[in-house]
Each structure stands twice: as structure tokens, then as C-alpha cells.
Symmetry: C2
Subunit: 353 residues, 2 copies
């Protein structure tokens, strides 16, 4: 029997296809800029409760789909949940964001972490994914996700994930005692492979790996803790789920974007706001035949005005012929007016290659 | 008559020469990690008083030269002083760093700024430079400096220069009303040309332009507010002072490093910690024949241990054959143990190409 169902737009772009118009979704699209998100979060009783309640997590995942008609939904969960599943205590403190205790700062601290309760702790997330496969409109792709090992490690070692930080603690430890620090990356690599495998089993159709802190490390250590673990994760997932595309987002990788894209073997490369569009078109889209994703400035989406559609057009003109997924260069800000998002989605979805 | 005085090591490197060993200095080398700095600052009566007292500013500029024997001294002054010279009020608040008021947030605010008192306000800095030409050992190069226009503008618009910030105010204004914002960049470009011209007249032998926030802007705006103004500054200074080399430090420029180096025409290119050493050797040293400067991790210099000399060696092996100036990838941190700096200087100065 022939399968007549057309493949979803986002999956076609990730397969390297030059689609008739780019799919669009926004990083952190389910979140605090939406009034309905605050209602659901209050109903759940807090952030941790929201993340661990499939009913409420499904609801907030669906909210931006209903409101804007994005082409993809990203599983609502929080990046440090995997640290809690390995044995740290996760709390959300008002104004501070996630706090992980005790912080991991020595080989002995690493040794106390364990994979033994991983899936038990993360079970609510798998259940959220399962419910979303039923609840989402048929043209919307469900993206599962995890933080990449180095980025999750920054949360675990610093002990916090919110707000600006100079990452002094993790950098001083990791750079001065790379052998003592390495087992944390190895443990996280294993945990993330298992976590994403289960998300795919539960119904995630694509995966994004967030390397939010790719800009912190000198070359050798970037290779050791950003490139190699992500390559290993992608290789392991591809071996088991060759049909599931993987997007990486090495924010701040700078001149290392090209090598990172090649060495990790990701299907899609998320671009931060510093990546020149012409470079991405030439080196990633044409050169490697890979899909790129990005990279509208999130502060411009807050500001709006005529510069917003102009900049959106510039991105579409440079990358829109694909393979391309429209997104921001960083997560959406809580100060973003929802009507700016609505206008953006209309503009991208009515554009034609 | 023949001039027998050998040209200073740092000036030879900036002229594109492959020196027998790299010169070394560190960004913010005169500063809070040195106990003697705190003594002098207290004698001066505060940060603003220190910056505006040639006697004390000369003393703190000399302190790291005496202690470590760096190959260059950088004029002690603070980046936002030029904003005060244009009409803002500059104060230092404990724990907040420099505060500039009222913040510049509209074309009307820009119109109230003026070049008329620029040199009067900056006269103590010129006097510090003049005194340093006499006070410095004959083998030490005197580097003058300024912030680049976009970076100074971030201070002026945000109203503060200390601590981490998401630069929401300047980005939302500049990106949504580029025509209204542009005159601030134009004014700063003129002011910085005049400021650096006077520093060179007073005896600065090389200039560094700090573009600490090169990573904030999408391509078109990066070109408009980072590349073009710096190219204009360098062109104007070269027309009048063809012998004075200029270093630029576009921190966070990422994939735009190459284009920035070419378009601005700087003699030396400061590398942040994300720039791969092999890339810099191939594209900047060999490809453009230009001097590179950088890029040891400042947190590793705090941490120390065997990884510090190992990473230093790796940088020397990759870039040391020149043209090269050893430096950090970002300013030295106040938590840095002076003995780590001493060991670093000994290692670099005893290395041979």
C-alpha cells in the first residue's frame, strides 16, 4: 500500500528539501509572554508542578499552536529536569529561576549521581509526549528536546540556571582539572541518549539539542565537551531511530559553527544572531546540503515596528529557498507582545520561495 | 644620522614582523587583582578621581609593569569617560560600576550631547599619556585606547556599564529605529577620532579599540554600527598618524572576524576565547599577514594548576611564530592571583620561536 499522507513541512525541511515556504516555530514559544501560560502555570501550582504534570504540560505546549498556528510544537519541559533525575534537588525560586542542590563540584559529587532512577523521574515527560502525539493537529511536528551535556553541566555545577552568570565555577574547575570533570560529561552523554531515545519512542518526531553555552570554551575543550558528546548522542540515536531528524543549536560557536555542523552530523543547524545569513546559505545549505534554522533577533520581535517585517524579509530572502526553518536566534523573551508573533507567523507562512 | 634604537617588540609584531618571541600584555592589567592598585585608588579618593588624576593614573599604569615586566602598558582610563565628556554625568556606584545619567534614549537626547567640551573634559587623560612617555621603561610600548562607537553607545543608552545585561534597551531602540539611532554612532565616531588623535599626539605609540559588544547585532547592523565606524576611525587616524598601529578587539564577532579584519584595516586583531587558533594562524597571520593578539582564557588564569602552562604552550605553539601578541581572550578578572600572572609572563617571555 502506498502512504498518501504528505510528510510534514518541518520534517521535509530537515530531510534537506527546499520547501515551498519555510516552516516556523520559535524557541520557548510556550512560555511567559502568553497570558494563558500564566493561568495554566498557576493552576498547576508552580513551575516544577507544571513540568511534571502531563495534563498541564500538554496544555501549555498546545497554547502557541492554537493561537499562532506554528508548524511545530516543542515539548514543554525544563532543561534542568534531567539533573534532578540524576540525583540533584531541583527547586524554582522567585526571581532566580531553577536552583540545583547540592551543586556538583568534585569527582566525589559526580560519583553520587546515578542513572538508576532516570526513567522513573522523567516518566511525566514521556507521558506528556505520548499525549501530544494525539492532541496535536496532524500538520504540526512534535519536537522533543534536551540540553546538550556541557550546557546541562553548567546548570549542575553552578547550581543555578537562571539569569546572567560568568560561569566562573564550572570554567575554573573544568579547565584546571579536565580529567576530574570529564566523567560528568560522560554521565550526561549516556543520560541524554536514554532520555531522547524514550522521547522518540513516545512519539517525538524530531529532536533539538540546546547547546546554549557553546561560546564559553577554548578550542580543545570545545571539541572535548561540546563536539564529541553531541556527535556521540546523534550517532547513538541515529543507530536506533534513523528516521528521526536532529537539530543542534550551538549558540555562540562562532567560527566553530562549520566544524561543529560537520563533526556532529546533525540534520539541522540552529543559527544564533551573529551568524551571517550569506555564510549559512553558502556553507551549510549549499555546502553541506543541510537545513539551517534561525535567526531573527528576539529583541527586535519585542520592539516591532517596520524594522521587524524588513528584517524578517531579509532572512527569508537569504535563506528561504531552503532547506530552512524560520526561528529566532535565541529564545523568545517574556516581554514579547503576542501580536508581534502573530504578524511574524503570517508573514513567514505567506512567503513563497 | 642613523637611528640605532631598536624598535620595540610590540611595535615590531604590529608591523607584521615574526618576532623572536611574542610580546605580552593583558587587558585590564592595571586593576583590582593587584593589592597596590587598591592602595592608589583609595589615595585618589575613588574611581572617577583616579581616572582624572594624572599622578595616580600614571602610578596604576606603571604598577603591573614594575611587578611583571610586561612588554606594553595600557593607559589607565575608563571607557565611559568619553560619554561624560560629551555631556552625560558619570558616577561610580558601589557594586554597580559606572552609571551614566541621564541615559540617551531618543534623538532629542542625542541632540543635547556636544563635542564642544570634549578635550577640556579629557585633558587629564592626555596629561596621563604625556607623563607615561617619560615614566615608562624604554622597552615598554605605551598603548592608548578607546571603546569603539557601538560599545560606548551601549553604556550611554543602557545608562550603565557594569555587570551582565541583556542590552534590551539599546537593541530595541537601535533595531527598531536605526535612522534615529545612527546619529549617536556618528557623533561617537567623530569624538573617538579626536580623542585618539590627541592620545597619539601626547605620546601613545599604539592604539587599541575595544568592541566588547560585537556579538549583539545581526549582520546588516553589525556592518552599519561596528564595521563602518571603526573603518572610518582607523582611516582618519592613519591619514594623520601612518606610523601608529591600531589593534581592534571585536569580542564575539564569531564568523564575522575575517570580514571585520579586512574591512577595518586594523594592524592587529584581538581574538576572543572562541576563535580557533588554527583558524587565526591560517586566515589572519598567514592569509592577511596581520598580527593577532590573544587569547588565553581569563578563568584559567584564575584557576592555575598544570592546565595553565599547558594551554599557554598550546597558544604559543599555534601562534607564537607570529606576528603575535600574547594576551587574554577577555580582561583579567579581579580574583586572579598575581603569582599566576607572574608565571605566565615568565613562560611567554622565555619561549622562543
Amino acid at each position: 500500500m502506498v502512504d498518501f499522507k504528505p510528510k510534514k513541512l518541518l520534517l521535509r525541511a530537515l530531510a534537506g528539501e527546499r520547501t515551498e515556504r519555510p516552516p516556523i516555530w520559535l524557541m520557548r514559544q510556550a512560555g511567559r509572554y502568553l497570558p494563558e501560560y500564566h493561568v495554566t502555570r498557576a493552576q498547576a501550582g508552580g513551575m516544577l508542578e507544571l513540568c511534571n504534570s502531563p495534563e498541564h504540560a500538554v496544555e501549555v505546549t498546545l497554547q502557541p499552536i492554537r493561537r499562532f498556528g506554528f508548524d511545530a510544537a516543542i515539548l514543554f519541559a525544563d532543561l534542568p529536569q534531567i539533573a534532578a533525575a540524576l540525583g540533584q534537588t531541583l527547586e524554582y525560586k522567585e526571581g532566580e529561576g531553577p536552583v540545583l542542590s547540592p551543586p556538583i563540584r568534585s569527582p566525589a559529587d559526580i560519583a553520587r549521581l546515578s542513572l538508576s532512577r532516570l526513567h522513573e523521574e522523567l516518566a511525566p515527560i514521556y507521558e506528556t509526549v505520548r499525549r501530544l502525539t494525539v492532541a496535536l493537529p496532524s500538520n504540526v511536528t512534535l519536537i522533543g528536546y534536551a540540553g546538550a551535556p556541557w550546557t546541562v553541566a553548567t546548570y549542575m555545577v553552578e547550581g543555578r540556571g537562571g539569569g546572567p552568570t560568568d560561569h566562573a565555577i564550572i570554567k575554573q574547575w573544568a579547565l584546571s582539572d579536565p580529567d576530574g570533570f570529564q566523567p560528568l560529561i560522560d554521565l550526561l552523554t549516556d543520560a541524554i541518549i536514554q532520555f531522547l531515545d524514550r522521547q522518540i519512542e513516545a512519539g517525538a518526531e524530531a529532536i533539538q539539542l540546546f547547546e546554549s553555552w557553546a561560546g564559553l570554551l577554548p578550542d580543545v575543550f570545545f571539541d572535548l565537551w561540546c563536539v564529541r558528546p553531541v556527535a556521540k548522542i546523534i550517532q547513538a540515536l541515529k543507530a536506533k531511530h534513523p528516521e528521526t531528524p536532529i537539530i543542534t543549536f550551538p549558540r555562540g560557536a562562532g567560527l566553530r559553527y562549520d566544524g561543529y555542523a560537520q563533526a556532529t552530523g546533525a540534520d539541522g543547524i540552529g543559527l544564533d544572531g551573529t551568524v551571517p545569513l550569506a555564510w549559512a546559505a553558502e556553507h551549510i545549505q549549499a555546502g553541506l546540503g543541510r537545513c539551517v534554522q534561525g535567526n531573527l533577533d528576539n529583541q527586535l520581535l519585542v520592539a516591532g515596528g517596520p524594522a521587524l517585517p524588513a528584517e524578517t524579509d531579509r532572512i527569508l530572502a537569504a535563506l528561504g529557498r531552503g532547506p530552512f526553518i524560520f526561528n529566532l536566534g535565541h529564545g523568545i523573551l517574556k516581554t514579547t507582545p503576542p501580536e508581534h508573533v502573530d504578524a511574524l507567523v503570517r508573514q513567514v507562512q505567506s512567503w513563497r520561495a
